[in-house]
Symmetry: C2
Subunit: 337 residues, 2 copies
């Protein structure tokens, strides 16, 4: 059973995957299978993954057979286990609990060649629906506090398989960074009785200099104090704390803007590796929180390492967000394909 352990000084939880237990000689990155290799995410290879949890597939086809559009499966090497109780215990100054949770893979397209910037916006919309459906389902498990959805695109960004996919990790704790956002935005709300994200959106639309793209419901911008060059946030223009509470039309418009932004990134930075993370309220808060505002954070992996920044929480960013936004605004996504 993997363990969740808490740093006693700063309160950050860490998964220690005792079962994976990497020996020193194992810290060599396995090569990513290339096109033509036996890919466990390609249609026809459904038996190479654990049985599917969810799939959007052609009517009448059976689970774990081809003819799906989106397929969600458990991670074959999960960082967490769904069975068991939390078993919270102390050990002197330390705290730990069992590594209870879920670790799933969302396969975003049947085509091995596709990426999120090449699939249709209709297909992109289905990826977002799959995120939502999994959140709705996992919320029922009262042991879970947070559902972390993220994507590692490209080997330098941590992807271990080439076939386009996102990941979902359901946790019995709230990740530190999200907790900080919740605390910070609550403090602002208590003082001003306004959502800080809504205030940011208002100011950004007025100033215009950090806006990358927008549509009726969503805004893509480079944040004022980005920790990485060309970092982009995609935010709903309406107030909502929980991703899963959005309206049907919203997923449609989000897919359109998200696809647009990734195409711009591809064009300006020559198909960079990137990570993105969905920041949404903890699952226990079913109703909309007045102070929090869900959004996606996209970070192209351009600099070699986080280095000292990773350990100090202090970042040096060589590209002002106003310049990054200007490059991205100037890159019409249509010309990129």
């Amino acid at each position: 059973m993997p363990e969740l352990r808490k740093d006693p000084i700063i309160g950050r939880w860490v998964i220690i995957s005792t079962e994976r237990g990497k020996r020193p000689s194992e810290f060599v990155i396995p090569p990513i299978p290339t096109k033509g290799g036996l890919c466990p995410f390609c249609p026809g290879n459904e038996d190479m993954t654990p049985p599917e949890i969810l799939a959007y597939r052609k009517e009448g086809t059976r689970p774990d057979t081809p003819e799906w559009r989106i397929r969600v499966v458990p991670n074959k090497f999960p960082a967490l286990r769904i069975e068991g109780d939390l078993g919270k215990v102390g050990e002197g100054v330390y705290d730990k609990m069992n590594g209870i949770g879920a670790h799933e893979v969302i396969i975003e397209s049947p085509s091995h060649q596709d990426t999120l910037s090449t699939i249709s916006t209709g297909q992109f919309e289905e990826v977002l629906w799959a995120y939502r459906d999994r959140i709705i389902d996992l919320k029922k498990d009262t042991r879970l506090r947070y559902i972390l959805i993220f994507k590692n695109h490209g080997e330098p960004a941590g992807a271990s398989l080439e076939h386009s996919h996102s990941q979902l990790i359901a946790l019995p704790i709230v990740p530190k960074r999200v907790g900080e956002e919740l605390d910070g935005s609550l403090e602002y709300y208590n003082y001003k009785e306004r959502c800080i994200f809504c205030d940011i959106i208002r100011q950004e639309l007025m100033q215009g200099i950090r806006v990358v793209a927008e549509n009726q419901d969503f805004l893509a911008l480079t944040p004022y104090a980005p920790k990485a060059p060309f970092e982009i946030w995609i935010m709903p223009r309406f107030h909502e704390s929980n991703f899963e509470n959005s309206q049907k039309q919203h997923y449609h418009n989000l897919a359109a803007l998200f696809s647009d932004v990734l195409k711009r990134l591809d064009r300006v930075l020559n198909k960079p590796p990137y990570n993105f993370i969905l920041h949404t309220a903890p699952v226990r808060n079913g109703e909309t929180l007045p102070h929090y505002h869900w959004h996606f954070e996209i970070m192209p992996k351009l600099v070699k390492t986080a280095g000292f920044e990773w350990g100090s929480g202090f970042y040096i960013n060589p590209t002002p967000p106003e310049e990054a936004a200007e490059y991205l605004r100037g890159a019409s996504p249509e010309e990129s394909s």
Copy 2:
């Protein structure tokens, strides 16, 4: 002038180096000069760096000439500038100030081939003295709040020059991670009237399972909830919040243990790239704080990327610290050379 900007939600400050202003095409890592190339840190090339700030050199030799043992110079491409005032201003919901501060390089040995694991402990001790002397000097500047000392060793860990060196960044703000440690340890102190680090040391010495090495004054251990595999902390066994307040004998014993630990890392992980960071109290607090405890955190760069972990504050560590400590204890540093 570079800018310091504050994230309005979580309160993290970021340096935006407007003058460096990297364009999209510039995100290609320059190759590290190899042996024999023209290295600005090698003796004889002193004119390739800005004039030295501090050097431990042969008596009677002039500044910026050879025959030094340790040399401290300003970074040629500084992230911060020492001239000017803080110029704190708000801009709607945002806060910024001028990027005032210092950015220095500590050249750890005249020999291009040396690393911190191959230099003598006497030389290592002088590296630590240089850290101390620079802190003592920079503390006099009342605009500065924190002095961050760190090392990027090896290209995957962010080193851009091969010749062994550490860096110092003096800041008008306290880095987020250090601020969290100060807050967390103060909360513990207010409740228990004990230093949490002292309690950790007591428990670790009793349990023994995460101890890597120790001597009279210092302890090296793998922390209970490490965010990276083979992460190591080196802590004074006596209570002290400020690195620069230590006794002469302490630097001697720290050099011995630090050198021992880096040799063990080299042996177990085949000379890995790594980062280390000195965690010490902010400079404004001249006297010893009862709740904080200075230490070094060493992180070998073994996994490809921080990926989603970087953006979520949530870490998955594939190697339990007890196993890492066992490997490191078993690696006698003497056999490694």
